[in-house]
Point group: C2
Chain length 151, copies 2
Amino acid sequence: MDEETLQAALNTADVLCAQRGVRFTAQRRRVLELVCRAERPVGAYEILGQLHTGATAAPPTVYRALDFLLEQGFVHKLETLHAFIGCTHPEHPHASQFLICADCGRVKELESEAVAGCLRSAAQETGFHPKRPVIEVLGTCAQCTHKAKKV
Amino acid sequence: MDEETLQAALNTADVLCAQRGVRFTAQRRRVLELVCRAERPVGAYEILGQLHTGATAAPPTVYRALDFLLEQGFVHKLETLHAFIGCTHPEHPHASQFLICADCGRVKELESEAVAGCLRSAAQETGFHPKRPVIEVLGTCAQCTHKAKKV
DNA sequence: CATTTTTCGAAACATTATAACAGTTGTGCG
DNA sequence: CGCACAACTGTTATAATGTTTCGAAAAATG
């Protein structure tokens, strides 16, 4: 995420938190910034390592901030990687799908209503009530596929 | 999984391993049995706890057996739960979806070609090459939804 | 400004997973 | 058969991820 996008994301978070009556503290802001700056998903302890902020930081510090950001939809957790990425459209709640490149490590967030709907109806056919769908696809991104062919 | 289904699963595994020229050792068989016997997904350390087989067992023992069973498609790993379940149709490779009940903990394995295909095409539209899709839905199963209404 | 709620700091601990290396067993082949 | 090799297993240690708990500080509330 480039500098401009980052600032926009932080602003959006600010506004949304104000609207929702929740506190966007310095700590949470800092964690969101670190997650967004990264090109790839970052682990909790990786964030922790970058949080030398005067006081020492312990795991709960990071996990608390991440929990908050997850609740607000500002970041997503990738279950297959035990890592976090900034959300590309935090304005509205949504069911996303993630394409994870095993080669370069980058992740693309899809938001296909077709996929979400298809899965929802398949689930509901069995009487199941979906709450939180987790859809992550491991594979190779366009760029890396291209590179592989050249070599 | 009831006793009959379990025996069938173990037999199937036997046959498939023979066909594939891989070894279905006592260790692996025991782990598969433990996973299949469980009503719900079981963690690696839970399996470990049930492996008092004369010699002591350490984590790598279980993880190695599980890796083998995963490769052969005899069990699945649920990324959101860090737990394993027996596969309900190991005969053919397949992309499954899992419906995980947050209430009773039971898991239903779907095998909807519609869902798999839909996701595959959504991914490929972006030039992405899917390898391993992970689809897990947290929610409430039919039974538990029903019970909740009664109370 | 006292009260209540929320957030944060700190230490310990719990859970899940892997690395590294040695020993053991099974398999194929001369 | 018996040797050589590969695959599997045992063992110890450690890494990586995530939680519990308790108490202090800071902020919102009335």
